[in-house]
């Protein structure tokens, strides 16, 4: 048996050395996990959401564990555009892998302002448009539930970052996700990222109050994986395959097998979120797992697997 295989993939025109990226909000801005893994071994890096001004985020508790999952209501706590550019960008410039900055905002203008500033940075491969965060009062998911708004915000953002990859991150909590996907593609998205978290709630029955200070939060982790796989497969079959728009699949991925499941369902690349919390080198293990699968199945690479579930 050979013991190496090329698992690079073409993701929206850029060759990634492997299909494994970090998920926004779970792996920091750039080097927070470098004690546990060499970030340059990843397929790419997606940063925590950046907003125009720094955001403190929601009061605590901000997370609660659930059965095979967790809720978070971090509320987009982040250092803001300015500090990102001054403190983080220099570190990003030193990396050899593509970095995509996740962009969030409360108003259209905020999205545009952040995008405009980021698109001037040579070191960035693109942006991931977060119109699906369930944990903020304004903005976020409110843009992401209505296809007309998805198309409009995507188009306006794309105008400002024509030279960069624009990934649009969709919320799964809609009646027809393919409508959201179509809208993003019509608006000019170069790739789709799905899924963000599912809105959910845990109640502390002793105090008769929601556990999270924000009342509700977004469910992530292995619990959501089968729903995420379904949604990726649906969007792939309904829209993405024909439009030749790659999907970044995520939701509960812990192992190489999980990543292969998303790829078979239609994802060109995958992101690792919650699993990083318990296994900070999870991305590396997933990359190894994908390689082993390819070797075991005598595949020359992963691209032939994309969307190939019968």
């Amino acid at each position: 048996m050979k013991n190496s295989v090329d698992i690079s993939v073409n993701f929206a025109g850029r060759q990634l050395q492997n299909p494994v990226l970090t998920a926004s909000g779970t792996c920091g801005y750039v080097d927070e996990l470098s004690d546990f893994m060499d970030v340059n071994c990843l397929g790419g890096f997606i940063t925590k959401s950046i907003t125009l001004k720094p955001r403190l985020g929601n009061p605590t508790p901000r997370i609660v564990e659930t059965d095979s999952g967790m809720l978070n209501a971090i509320g987009l706590a982040n250092i803001g555009l300015e500090r990102f550019l001054s403190e983080k960008l220099p570190l990003i410039e030193k990396l050899s892998i593509p970095v995509y900055v996740n962009v969030a905002g409360q108003t259209l203008d905020e999205y545009l302002a952040v995008t405009e500033a980021l698109c001037k940075c040579k070191a960035l491969a693109g942006i991931e448009l977060n119109i699906s965060c369930p944990n903020v009062k304004a903005g976020g998911i409110t843009f992401g539930k209505d296809p007309a708004q998805i198309e409009s915000i995507t188009a306006q953002v794309k105008k400002l970052c024509a030279s960069k990859t624009l990934i649009v991150k969709l919320t799964p909590t809609v009646t027809e996700i393919s409508d959201s996907a179509r809208a993003a593609i019509n608006g000019g998205a170069d790739a789709l990222s799905l899924v963000n978290t599912f809105t959910a709630m845990v109640i502390d029955i002793e105090r008769r109050k929601p556990v999270l200070a924000n009342r509700t939060g977004g469910l992530s982790g292995p619990a959501i994986k089968p729903m995420a796989v379904y949604l990726v497969n649906k969007v792939y079959n309904d829209v993405a395959k024909q439009a030749k728009i790659p999907i970044l699949g995520l939701g509960g991925i812990q192992t190489g097998s999980d990543a292969i499941e998303f790829i078979l369902a239609g994802a060109t690349a995958v992101s690792i979120g919650t699993a990083t919390f318990s296994e900070p080198n999870c991305c590396i293990n997933v990359i190894e797992g994908i390689k082993n699968y390819c070797l075991r199945h005598k595949l020359s690479g992963v691209e032939q697997l994309i969307g190939s579930v019968e």
């Binding site: 920091g28 004690d35 564990e65 978070n72 900070p280």
Partner: protein
């Protein structure tokens, strides 16, 4: 919030359980051994740091052995790790021995409680900043509340061994005798404070006990006990430091006392932690922006768990 160090100080490593004993109805003591990379990283473990224990793959106790109030909680399939401190960290040849005390509160600690010698538990650590010892201190007052004891016991040993110039006095409080995670020793002094703690006495550190219900030692809060002690002992505020760990309300009252005494104070805090290493933002702790009254969030896991008591915006 600086994360620019690229040297590997933290490890994700398997530890072997050497023993796991039940000390009280819900208190356990676990001893773990690390070798290889894990030992290398944990050899530098400082008092006040912590580790994240993986509990998801461990067994629950048999149904009949689960306390009634934890039965429903025990049905949860865990995915996140659980943070614990150590009361003792020892380098033995090429291995590191870690000793922790833990309280059984939910599914994760129930799972931990079933491990036995030879089992393997995955750890991530050392995490957090740990206590620090400012220059020119001559007196350290240690205030432990309930299960806040382990890191302070570790600190006591550390001070005794590495800072002989510092006199240490320890004060431990708990709801009642049974909740006190220490070995009580009778002293010769015939006062209401006629017990001390073997763990500190071993290092010639004087120690005092308070319980809310008076079942042992001073009846009342540990802060009151300290004030009582201060009536008999004079201190030089500039050369004194208070170290404390326990429930938030206790930390707040220690912080107030320290402020009133004009004494430096380091508090070790606890927050629900998703990761333990700064990426999930779950463990936010309200602090003041240095030199202002403006509130900001710091992270308990990487900026803390130990903070200068003046930094924290107490509720």
């Amino acid at each position: 919030m600086k994360h620019s160090c690229s040297c590997k100080t933290k490890a994700l490593a398997p530890a072997t359980v050497l023993s796991n004993e039940k000390l009280g109805p819900r208190i356990f003591r676990i001893t773990l051994q690390l070798k290889g990379l894990g030992a290398k990283a944990f050899a530098a473990f400082k008092p006040g740091q912590f580790a994240q224990f993986e509990v998801r793959d461990l067994a629950l106790p048999a149904k009949y052995a689960i306390p009634a109030d934890l039965k429903d909680k025990s049905r949860k399939n865990n995915i996140l790790r659980r943070p614990f401190s150590f009361y003792n960290v020892e380098v033995v040849e090429d291995s590191v021995i870690l000793r922790a005390l833990y309280l059984v509160l939910g599914a994760g600690t129930l799972r931990l409680s079933t491990t036995t010698a030879g089992d393997e538990i995955s750890l991530v650590g050392p995490l957090g900043n740990g206590f620090s010892v400012p220059k020119n201190k001559k007196l350290a007052l240690i205030l432990a509340g309930g299960m806040g004891a382990p890191p302070l016991q570790h600190l006591g040993t550390f001070l005794a061994e590495k800072h002989p110039e510092i006199r240490v006095a320890a004060f431990a409080g708990a709801r009642s005798k049974a909740d006190l995670p220490f070995n009580l020793v009778k002293t010769h002094a015939e006062t209401e404070l006629s017990f001390c703690l073997e763990e500190f006495a071993r290092h010639n550190i004087e120690s005092h006990v308070a319980t809310d219900d008076g079942s042992v030692g001073y009846k009342g809060f540990v802060t009151d006990l300290l004030q009582h002690w201060l009536t008999k002992n004079s201190i030089d505020p500039a050369q004194t430091i208070i170290y404390t760990c326990g429930p938030d309300p206790m930390l707040a009252s220690v912080a107030r006392l320290a402020a009133s005494l004009n004494v430096d104070c380091q508090v070790s805090t606890e927050r629900v932690m998703g990761c333990g290493f700064g990426v999930c933002q779950s463990c936010a702790i309200e602090c003041y922006k240095p030199g202002t009254q403006e509130k900001i969030y710091k992270l308990c896991c990487t900026d803390g768990p130990v903070f200068d008591s003046r930094e924290v915006a107490w509720k």
